[in-house]
Amino acid sequence: MRHIGRNDRIDLGERNVTMRRLLAILAAMVLLLAACGGDDDDAEATESGGVEATETEDEASDETTATADDNEAADDAGDDAADAADAGEIDREATLIYATSFITNSLDVPNVGTDFSYTYVNLVYDGLTKRNSAGEVVPAIAESWEVTSDTLILDIVDGRTFHDGTPIDAEAVKANLERIINCECRFASQLAPIGSIETSGNQVILNLSEPAGTLLEVFADIAGMMASPASFENEDLDTNPVGSGPFTVREYSDGGVVYDRWDGYHDVENTLVASVEIRSIPDDNTRISGFISGELDVGLARLGQLGEAEAGGLNIIMGGNAQMYILALETDNEALADPDVRRAISHALDRDGISQGLYGGNCTPTVQPYPEGFPGYVADATVERYAAYDPDLARQLLADAGYPDGFTISMGAPAITNYTNQLEIYQAQLAEIGITVEAIADEGRTFVQRLSEGEYDSWLGPSSTARPSTAAWWHMVYHPDGARNAGGYELPGIDDLLLQLNSATTPAESAAAIEAMTVASLEDGARTIIVCSPQTVAVHQDNVGGYQIGLANNLDLRTVYKTAG
């Protein structure tokens, strides 16, 4: 397997793939059956696997306040597109066809069911903030802000309107935030730190009930997307939303969504395609065939499909981001409550072998929840000692903890081939140190329900560690009240550590807080064992450009363009 760096583009091979495809069909028969049971992209499997989706945190400037200038300067993807546009290569009347395995259940923010709807709704709405391709939070509708310990003051941009002509102003922002806070929806808890909202001129003043600097990350995600208040009572908002983004919705169906460019958009000159079709194609094999036949322009593929994509002459983009494969241990199990046992399990996992065996080396072994280069990544190499594959040490740790003969635990996984493969490997590797794993593979929603109710002693799956905010992920898996911590584990000092993160007024402070949490979790024998960081794979045709896999694990089509021919 050739090494491909972040967002490197490669052109490979001729289209002489018949024999390979025929052989691949045999394997695909099995995969197809799995796909019909709800198989998804790695990223989207987080949905069905439900381990939780999150988004990146910002890397960022050292300023406490941000300005609109940051926006223009930081958005390198937009710059690339603009350069291409200047060169006169771009077909501005083109229709871009993007393929994914997932269909959003709704385009109305409060009703959006999963974080992977981001790609769908991001075309229609502008958010209060947004992330650039480096994962940094930069201005959007909030053109600047000021963070204090008990307030977050947003300056709202002047002179813009929603698709229906309603002006975007402080009152509109207040109405949107109050709609989310008061909704019976999953986003309400993301805005829980907001005690009350006031407006003054073009300013929105959020009075916080607790420090919540990471709200700026939340505002760059779905909860921060602004809709026209005049549309709130519309009955068709689920399929016909009214935002202020670069596109409006022409058609919604269970097969996908079709968008048209909105000529009233403030940055319409950088909206480089006339329309976008997002196609939902659940079956992996069908999707890759659609790319090879040229019927699809750009979209996600699986690591296991790299060979087929290469042979099919497709361009490949790969990138790691804040999404990890994890093995979570529930500490209401007596054995797993012991830090030595948790360390033993971590040392029993052959991360390199898993990466090579299952992913062709494209799942970077690590024990940290964020990839290298991400704010909060612990550069001290000694931390990685926790990832060392050492069965002898693992057996010794088990003996020290009083389990020389091992014990038995249950382990749940989404019933998707990728994760059942992991399940089998973990089962075999833990057997080497005397731990018997009772493997349980459950269909997506059942899996989520069972792990939430604490029915598994341990469970595995993908986890996005920075969406909707870094603080949210740490609370979810390391706070006793966390939604993915049914065993009630409490990371020593978690409340203080979260307070430190939410009180950070500079990116450096924020990164330091995350580093402290990572180290604290490893020193206590992490109950959420990070196994490896999988590369996200996208494929595209020769005439498509501007697509990047951002560190934030939120896939953005706004900057994608097509060239003539």
Binding site: L32, S289, S293, E295, V448, Q449
Partner: protein, 315 residues
């Protein structure tokens, strides 16, 4: 067909649909644990669960729940999707044409290929018979999605003759419609044609051995007329029977075929609904397919009397 027989058959069909509708209406109670909790989702608060219970009428007596659901269903109102909040009937209307197109086209392919090859094999025997029988065995053994993948590999990817994905409505573009449904319909219809060919061949062989055929031949009846007048009708009953049975299999097979060709049809809708536990959609799907299968089988039953008057007299 006597009116008594017609009433009896209709009554039986209505009874089957009625019994199926009871199961369909109450299927929400079959999930483990509290149905309202399952529908409301994993993170629902007690208030949301109670609200869901009231919204779905799960706090009413079972018979009230059924009556309410059935009267709404008779009006075409299957409620709203729990996931998309869209009216279920609107979702069904959106996807039904694609599924019906594929299944009808597959049926036509199955009849044309199956009856032709089966008829030839039964009449000519020898090499034609052996080749057809071998082909039929292969056709039955190969799963439709496997055939679909082969068709995609050769006719879409290698020779670029047909598209891999999608569906074009007949009303929008008849040529595009034909272009898009050819491969899915072939993938679905070939297996069925093998079954039809086998039944046709068996029926023709049986009929050809009957004394009245020998008599007709002895009287000098020409081959074409003999086949059209005496063989086809008498051999048709097993063929029609197997066609009726195969329609049910087609509706199952189309689920996979829609995945292979990325067609947003009834099957795709059902797969998503099951994964999402979207009960109103599942209920509509199951009831709709039940009605279709029961209606097809009713037609098959009624056709026996038209095909062969002896059946009427035996009834």
């Amino acid at each position: 067909m006597s009116s008594r027989l017609l009433v009896r058959r209709l009554g039986g069909s209505v009874l089957v649909v009625f019994l199926a509708s009871i199961l369909v209406a109450l299927m929400v109670h079959l999930v483990p644990g509290d149905a309202a909790s399952a529908v409301a989702g994993e993170n629902a608060s007690p208030e949301q669960i109670q609200s869901t219970r009231e919204r779905l009428g799960l706090d009413e007596p079972i018979w009230v729940q059924y009556f309410s659901w059935a009267t709404d269903a008779l009006r075409g109102d299957f409620g709203q999707s729990l996931i998309t909040n869209r009216p279920v009937i609107e979702m069904v209307r959106q996807v039904l044409p694609a599924t019906l197109s594929i299944t009808l086209a597959a049926s036509v392919i199955a009849v044309v290929i199956g009856v032709t090859l089966g008829g030839l094999a039964g009449l000519r025997r020898g090499v034609t018979d052996r080749v057809t029988s071998l082909g039929a065995s292969l056709g039955i053994a190969m799963p439709s999605f496997w055939v679909g993948m082969l068709l995609v590999t050769f006719f879409a990817l290698e020779f670029d003759l047909f598209p891999v994905l999608d569906y074009t409505p007949l009303t929008e573009d008849p040529v595009g419609w034909l272009h898009h449904i050819t491969l899915p319909a072939l993938a679905l219809g070939l297996g069925m044609s093998a079954e039809v060919a086998r039944q046709t061949r068996g029926g023709v062989v049986d009929v050809m051995a009957q004394p009245y055929i020998r008599t007709a031949r002895a009287k000098g009846a020409p081959g074409g007329r003999l086949f059209a007048r005496h063989v086809v009708r008498n051999a048709a009953i097993p063929v029609v029977t197997v066609l009726g049975l195969q329609i049910g299999r087609l509706l199952g097979g189309v689920i996979i075929i829609e995945q292979v060709f990325a067609i947003n049809g009834l099957g795709t809708m059902a797969v998503r609904a099951v994964a999402d536990r979207d009960f109103p959609v599942i209920q509509a799907y199951v009831l709709l397919t039940t009605v279709i299968v029961v209606a097809i089988n009713l037609l098959v039953d009624l056709s026996y009397g038209w095909i062969n008057p002896r059946v009427r007299s035996e009834e």
